[in-house]
Subunit: 154 residues, 2 copies
């Protein structure tokens, strides 16, 4: 189990281009204290367990193992209702890689960018398309979105 340190932003304007992968994911547990996620990402699959974020919402315990896609597809069948579908585009900006998630289905309209850091204070370039920061806002956790899709927000 390692510490995941990342900052998350809404994306505004035109989406930048980059390598894009389709992601389908469900939750065996969507409670923020202990999320258990089953993810199929392109041709690979992962089981990921996360603890709750710290007070800044930027750091979070994370445990991840790659699993066979076929097993992930079986596990998706017993996940909570509310599977997330999105594409992920990787965009290099300066020394960092932003992952831009473009959501579909019940979360259509939501586009978010994440950047992984080696410590919370690490600096990074902010491109024009980077909008409001939502790090630590639990409404933007994918686990929350699976139960409260973006389209149902007021």
């Amino acid at each position: 189990m390692s510490q995941e340190i990342e900052r998350k932003f809404l994306v505004k304007g035109d989406l930048p281009e980059g390598k894009t992968t389709r992601i389908v994911q469900g939750y065996l547990s969507s409670v923020p204290e202990r999320t258990v996620r089953v993810r199929v990402k392109g041709e690979r699959a992962f089981l990921t367990i996360k603890g709750i974020g710290n007070e800044t919402g930027i750091s979070r315990y994370e445990w991840e193992k790659e699993i066979p896609v076929q097993e992930a597809e079986q596990l998706l069948k017993i996940c909570e209702p509310g599977v997330i579908e999105k594409t992920r585009t990787e965009v290099e900006v300066g020394k960092h890689t932003f992952e831009i998630d473009h959501f579909f289905g019940d979360n259509e309209g939501l586009v978010m960018a994440e950047v992984e850091l080696s410590d919370e204070a690490e600096q990074f370039d902010k491109p024009d398309w980077l909008g409001e920061e939502v790090s630590g806002d639990k409404r933007y956790y994918n686990s929350y979105l699976s139960q409260h899709p973006f389209k149902t927000w007021k």
Copy 2:
């Protein structure tokens, strides 16, 4: 993910002897539709995901991976409150192996035996110490016991 077929019984009278291992386990999800269990069993550790049982309560989907003990100990820290502690004794009876779980802590007083079968109708010898069958009674799921310990039952 495979099908787990097993029958579960209370144990009465003197406990038979056999190879005994200590088990400590917690749950990342204790809901019966999708339990996610972290188990340290002697010198080894496992992450196990189970679906809900079928109508007889004897068959249940199960997915299991061995994980390093150190990772399991980290994951136990973020599990739901209510860790289960027990010893498991393996006893050969005829062609089958019974696993007898002797619970401690908040579940002190509970002793259960499980036998794994290759199909639901498979016959097996019933030793004297085998008491009432509780297959499919969700109160006897370890996930339920973690949230509603045996000592609190009326």
